[in-house]
């Protein structure tokens, strides 16, 4: 990577240095969390019991925590030389981790409430193939050190005054994003489950067996509604906290995102790591023409909602334009896709309908009272099959592939054909007979997109067109 010559390492970074002194407390609290509840109980009980021995336990626990923090802080040091970033840790077994400069894919900083108290940053060093966790995490780095390190590695933190593109999430849009947060889709079935369980309980348990429990179906429904409302509020709050002030900037060959109400999170992502962009239209968003844009990256998975989010909420019709501004390599239309052939409709329907029939048979045998569910289930299965059939589509432009499919929400992947991790076709015996096949591509870390039931000849042609040339 073109991160400047090795010679420009500023002298102070060459000598091993510790974290900011605030790291003592931050590490202490972290060890408290790791030692967990027993220790807290010991301290609380010790303090509460009032006798000398209890107090002793509590004090010993606190001392242990503080000493651990101090030791961790004291024994952790880092430095940068011409070739690599070094991290030394450990009291008894001294570990030294060496990450070659060119392997460093990005430096991210977060500032949690504690870090904010000391005015320091948490610095995460990412490498490709580093998997779920950052390769190195330094929990308290002064702004100046972080800045010097970033400059030395060519990952300047602040965007240029005139970035190539900048998008902010407006407060109104944030609220819409929070209201339609995908968690709600998970909540509704839970509510349904509560209502069903309530009916069961009402049917089997004689009334007033348990004092204080709701004793009519209506009351149970109220409880269920209350639980859902509460969970929904939590999910709204969660989304607001995560995505407040979301801003994404493209600046040369890097994307920088920043967001968060309490823990401000800043992430840098080299465009060269972006293997694709996925437009996800959730159940609650699709009817309003809204969608989320996510980035698919290699060796950068599991970093949570923010780093995978390119932009939390866009209008569907603006999505292509937003992608063009942020990831120019993937610019192009997301529409006018080649659909699945009309004769594939049957294949989309049959699996779901058979599943629904099986469930209905079970209902008919085991739970006759629920018979009204049977037509509903069958209709839902058929409707979902039809919607999946209509969602399916693909498009191949010069070096760019678009695949669209639906589970429940609709998902559209745009990827550069040169960046695919692998691609292939898949054929079940039924598809073989009907001369249909699925097309699969893998982008980023363990992410796949699949369009089902295309003409087998089309699938085979795509197999060839997606090959590296």
């Amino acid at each position: 990577m073109a991160d400047g010559p090795a010679a420009v390492v500023p002298e102070p970074l060459r000598t091993p240095r510790r974290m900011h002194a605030g790291g003592i407390l931050i590490e202490a609290l972290r060890s408290l969390r790791e030692m967990g509840i027993p220790l807290i109980i010991a301290i609380v009980v010790g303090a509460g019991a009032g006798n000398a021995r209890g107090l002793l336990y509590g004090v010993a626990g606190l001392v242990l925590v503080v000493v651990t923090g101090l030791v961790r802080w004291y024994t952790t040091s880092w430095s940068l030389d011409g070739n690599a970033l070094h991290l030394r840790t450990g009291l008894l077994s001294r570990n030294e981790k060496v990450i070659p400069r060119e392997r460093i894919s990005s430096l991210d900083t977060t500032q949690g409430p504690l870090q904010r108290v000391f005015g320091v940053l948490e610095l995460r060093v990412q490498t490709p193939g580093g998997g779920r966790h950052a390769e190195i995490v330094l929990r308290a780095v002064s702004r100046r050190d972080a800045e010097t390190l970033r400059r030395a590695l060519g990952h300047a933190a602040e965007a240029a005054p005139t970035p190539d593109a900048r998008l902010r999430l407006a407060p109104g849009t944030l609220l819409v994003a929070a209201l339609t947060a995908p968690q709600l889709g998970v909540l509704l079935p839970i509510a349904g489950g509560i209502a069903a369980a309530a009916q069961d309980v009402m049917g089997n348990v004689s009334r007033q067996t348990f004092d204080g429990l709701p004793d009519t179906v209506g009351q149970w429904l109220l409880v269920g509604a209350g639980v859902v409302a509460l969970a929904w509020l939590l999910s709204i709050a969660g989304a607001v906290v995560t995505f407040a002030g979301f801003e994404v900037v493209r600046d040369g060959d890097r994307l920088r995102t920043r967001s968060g109400l309490f823990a401000r999170r800043a992430a840098t992502l080299p465009l060269s790591r972006v293997q694709g962009v996925r437009m996800v239209e959730g159940l609650l968003r699709e009817p309003f023409g809204l969608a989320t844009l996510r980035v698919e990256t290699a060796g950068y998975a599991g970093q949570g909602a923010v780093t995978q989010t390119l932009f939390p909420l866009v209008r569907r019709r603006d999505a292509a334009a937003v992608i063009e501004r942020l990831v120019p390599a993937l610019a192009g239309s997301l529409d006018a896709l080649e659909p699945a052939p009309a004769r594939a409709r049957r294949s989309y329907l049959i699996g779901l309908v058979l599943l629904a029939v099986a469930v209905c048979a079970l209902i008919a045998i085991a739970w006759r009272d629920a018979w009204p569910a049977i037509p509903v289930l069958l209709a839902l299965a058929a409707a979902l099959g039809e919607l999946r059939f209509r969602a399916a589509g693909w498009r191949l432009d010069d070096g760019r592939v678009v695949l669209r499919s639906r589970h429940v929400g609709r998902s559209t992947l745009v990827a550069s054909t040169r960046r695919l991790q692998e691609h292939g076709t898949r054929q079940t015996p039924l598809q073989r007979r009907r001369r249909l096949a699925d097309v699969t591509v893998a982008v980023g870390s363990r992410r796949r997109a699949r369009v089902r039931h295309l003409e087998a000849s089309t699938a085979h042609r795509l197999l060839g067109l997606l090959r590296p040339s």
Binding site: P128, G129, S272, R273, A298, G299, L396, D398, G399, T417, L420, Q421, E422, H423, G424, T425, R426, Q427, T428, P429, R432, A442, V443, G444, S445, R446, R447, R448, H460, R461, L463, G464, L465, L466, R467, P468, S469
Partner: protein
């Protein structure tokens, strides 16, 4: 984009793979069948127990007769200069093309059973996960591993 014909993969697994797959099928089905049979005899007994036992035994025999043969017959692979091409699947036929430049590392794997038959698997890893050619003669596996490693190390940005 230039359209060029996609040749089908042609290379087969080692002939000894049949016996390896047979052992694997037996290892994965016999203990399960044994538990089912034990439960059937202990709990159900009588005619039902006998019927379940018969079905379980038959299932193992059919699996042993069909699965290794089909796995052998259906597996094809090819290591080209710029990609690895695999076709496999007893019921669902899967075709996978892995661009050589995406291969991060490659290794050979041997289990006690495969070692007994003188076989090894070649596994190659991309950011999207691992893919395996399951049963090759050890020398072939080593050669293919080295060839993939050579080809994959052609410098290109990840």
């Amino acid at each position: 984009m230039p359209e060029r014909p996609t040749p089908e993969p042609t290379r087969l697994l080692a002939p000894e793979a049949f016996r390896l797959f047979l052992v694997e099928v037996l290892l994965s089905t016999v203990p399960f069948a044994a538990v089912v049979i034990a439960l059937a005899i202990l709990l159900a007994g009588g005619a039902l127990g006998f019927a379940i036992t018969a079905v379980a035994v038959l299932a193992v025999i059919v699996a042993a007769a069909v699965v290794p043969r089909l796995r052998m017959a259906r597996f094809r692979f090819e290591v080209r200069e710029d990609e690895i091409d695999l076709r496999h699947g007893i019921v669902i036929e899967t075709r996978t093309l892995v661009p050589m430049v995406r291969v991060q590392h490659v290794d050979t794997r041997r289990t006690p059973v495969s070692r007994y038959f003188g076989l090894a698997a070649v596994a190659f890893h991309t950011a999207a996960g691992a893919t395996e050619i399951p049963a090759l003669r050890e020398a072939d596996a080593a050669a293919i591993r080295d060839r993939i490693a050579d080809l994959a190390l052609q410098p290109e940005v990840l």
